[in-house]
């Protein structure tokens, strides 16, 4: 196979009209969010102030984590959940005169958060820079959402002072700064660990490796040194600039990634927040929290950037390996075409002469006749095989044509049997009804099925791989089933076979799904439309 065909059957796109309505699977998440929001909202009151709710707002962390994890389509559901909580706690009192103001105040932040998450995700899907490599988009959303929420609040606050309860530009800006700082601290402290735990629980990410002692020591030394410098600067009367800690956290983020930078941020926050929870003057508290917020933003973005870079590097290495493999396959293909040619020439002679010998010796001695018949049969079988192999290896993409499934399965069987046999695996193929016809590029689709069979053979534990075809009400299903092998050694492939198979099947307007049950049996199913069936 040289190129993948463009899809010649349009994929079916699911209707998006109902996308904003939460599914049943979303409900536990939303209920959990409502409870967490209620608790976090009240804890935050400790750092409250005039004109803003709190200088530390963990509820925003839960909000962005849920939006990122389950998608911005849950924005409306989150707004509803927050309204319900706030009605329950009496923040929105439907009987009071200011209920509409309170309602708008509750709706605005989650709405802006949802829009920012949507915007960042859309941009990340299109962009090709390092900004679009995970976890950079999450970092951008984490910083952008609180800032955007505050910015959208600015015109409202100026026009309707009753929203924030403060008046004048000076007071309004102070109020919104408090709002941004509170949300930023909440988001950066909570969202990363929440998302990480959720990923870990669903197996979406790997447990990080144990860091080396040297790295831990380096991070600790740098952090301690930065604190020491700050204390020194304060002692000699230079005030309390937070630049040393900021640089230390940025360094840790760039060197060791997001997890390390987050841990450093937590350490810094743990030292600052208990102080600011105590009664202290507003200006000082705001200044401390702003410094903390900038340390967190810089640290978190540095960590995210380092992770994104590491990811890009891994991707590049993987792509390099793929390139080597592709190059090797190209050489292999050229070699096999040459070998087929070299074989076909003498084989032509051999087949002609063997047939002649067979015809000559029909009435001869039984021993001679049997031998001649055998040679003739083998030469003929070999000729068929060489022609088939050449068709598979030599031809480029041709147009899709109606193809009986039985023919396709025959081709697959001929290509896959030798490999199965060499692995000591029996390939069991069900009889295929002759009236099942699909629209297909034979060589490509055969390649897809062979890839699945090859994977099944390599992973097979009980010595049998089953290839079955069943007719469904929507078309036809090809199923490749293999038993498990207890201890599976690392396989040489890199999952390319499955990727290629999926691309081919989807170009044929079908789907490929793979399910491994608890016993370890894997079942790969290709669903394809039949020719002449209504869509």
């Amino acid at each position: 196979m040289t190129t993948l065909a463009k899809p010649f059957v349009e994929p079916r796109i699911p209707s998006r009209a109902t996308a904003v309505v939460p599914t049943v699977a979303d409900l536990p998440w939303l209920v959990g969010y409502a409870i967490a929001f209620l608790a976090a909202h009240h804890i935050a009151a400790e750092w409250g102030g005039r004109g803003f709710y709190s200088l530390l707002y963990p509820a925003a962390g839960f909000r962005i984590a849920l939006l990122w994890r389950r998608g911005p389509r849950l924005t409306l559901a989150i707004i509803v959940a927050e309204i319900l909580v706030q009605i329950g706690t009496g923040v929105i009192d439907p009987r009071s005169a200011g209920w509409l103001t309170a309602l708008i105040g509750v709706i605005r932040p989650p709405l802006v958060y949802g829009l920012i998450v949507l915007l960042v995700r859309t941009m990340a899907d299109r962009a090709q820079t390092s900004m679009s490599v995970a976890p950079m988009p999450l970092g951008l959303a984490s910083v952008g959402a609180p800032a955007a929420a505050a910015l959208t609040a600015l015109p409202w606050s100026l026009l309707r002072p009753d929203l924030t309860g403060v008046s004048g530009l000076r007071e309004t800006v102070t109020s919104l700064t408090g709002f941004v700082v509170g949300d930023l601290l909440g988001v950066l402290l909570l969202a990363p660990p929440l998302l990480w735990v959720a990923d870990l629980a669903t197996g979406g990410t790997l447990r990080p490796g144990r860091p080396s002692m040297a790295s831990v020591a380096e991070a600790v030394v740098i952090l301690v040194a930065s604190f020491a410098i700050e204390i020194l600067l304060a002692r000699i009367g230079l005030g309390t600039p937070h630049t040393p800690v900021l640089l230390a956290v940025a360094w840790i983020g760039l060197r060791f990634g997001r997890l390390a930078s987050w841990l450093a941020i937590v350490v810094v926050a743990a030292m600052v927040l208990p102080q600011t929870a105590m009664p202290m003057d507003m200006g000082g508290r705001l200044a401390l929290h702003m410094s903390l917020a900038s340390i967190m933003v810089v640290g978190y973005l540095a960590g995210s950037f380092a992770d994104a870079q590491a990811r890009v590097r891994v991707d590049l290495e993987r792509r390099d390996r793929l390139l080597f493999q592709a190059e090797r396959l190209k050489t292999l293909r050229a070699m096999s075409v040459a070998v087929i040619h070299e074989i076909s020439q003498p084989l032509s002679t051999l087949a002609i002469e063997a047939k002649h010998l067979h015809e000559l010796t029909v009435s001869a001695d039984v021993e001679i006749a049997t031998t001649a018949a055998l040679i003739d049969r083998k030469a003929a079988a070999l000729s068929t095989l060489v022609r088939r192999l050449r068709r598979f290896g030599g031809r480029t993409v041709d147009v899709p044509t109606p193809l009986p499934l039985a023919t396709l399965i025959d081709t697959v069987a001929a290509l896959a049997r030798p490999e199965a046999k060499s692995h000591g695996v029996t390939l069991s193929i069900d009889a295929v009804a002759p009236d099942l016809v699909i629209l297909a590029q034979e060589v490509e689709l055969a390649q897809a099925i062979v890839n699945l069979v090859r994977n099944a053979v390599q992973a097979c534990g009980n010595g049998t791989v089953i290839l079955g075809v069943t007719r469904t009400n929507r078309g036809v299903e090809l199923v490749v089933v293999n038993g498990s092998r207890p201890a599976r050694p690392e396989q040489p492939g890199m999952g390319i076979g499955i990727l290629v198979a999926r691309a081919i099947v989807e170009a044929h307007g079908g789907t490929l799904s793979r399910v491994t049950d608890t016993a370890g049996n894997t079942r790969a199913t290709i669903a394809l439309p039949l020719v002449g069936e209504p869509e």
């Binding site: 076909s344 084989l347 032509s348 087949a351 002609i352 047939k355 070999l382 000729s383």
Partner: protein, 194 residues
């Protein structure tokens, strides 16, 4: 196998064993077959000993199968040509039939039944061509012009106008053509022209 279905066949392949094997196979089926390693010597002797059918490899030394087909067609338009190759491509398959007038394009290892069927068809076609050519060979240039227009469906008046001669002269030429080719009516003349 009847005698009319058997003919003279040349097999051209740079693999000596394969050429010889195919030639022997054809001889067993009643044809007179001769293998050639190289097309050049065959082209030299061809006019003295034309064949009904030529089976040729495509990829050969100096002269490839297609080049050879072009040259042999110049010498003999009534020979059927069958290509065989170990490097089949769709483009070559189409060219072999459309551009080089091949009867078939066979993939190695050769499918024996298909080769024999193609040879039988080629020999029959070649014999029909030769007999038609022989029957129209005695026509004068003027008669040939009238013949060509006749088989395209023109009537006497149209032919007279086209060649700037009188309808009576056309009538005379028609009688001569029918006599020389031994045909009976316009339908048989058209069959000859095919």
């Amino acid at each position: 196998m009847t005698d009319t279905a058997c003919g003279m066949v040349y097999v051209v392949d740079d693999d000596q064993d394969l050429g010889a094997a195919v030639a022997r196979l054809l001889r067993r089926h009643g044809h007179v077959a001769e293998p050639f390693l190289d097309p050049a010597p065959l082209l030299e002797v061809y006019e003295r000993a034309p064949a009904h059918c030529i089976v040729t490899d495509v990829m050969m030394g100096e002269i490839d199968g297609f080049d050879f087909a072009d040259r042999v067609r110049l010498l003999d338009p009534a020979v059927a040509i069958i290509f065989m190759t170990a490097w089949p491509t769709t483009a070559n398959a189409v060219d072999s039939v459309r551009r080089y007038g091949g009867l078939d394009y066979l993939e190695k290892p050769i499918d024996e039944d298909r080769l024999l069927a193609a040879i039988t068809e080629g020999v029959a076609w070649s014999k029909a061509q030769r007999s038609a050519l022989a029957r129209t060979a005695g026509l004068t240039p003027r008669q040939r012009q009238v013949f060509d227009l006749l088989v395209k469906g023109h009537n006497n008046q149209a032919i007279a106008a086209a060649l700037d001669i009188s309808p009576k002269t056309v009538e005379d030429h028609r009688a001569a053509i029918v006599a020389k080719t031994g045909t009976n009516g316009i339908a048989q003349l058209i069959a000859l022209a095919r």
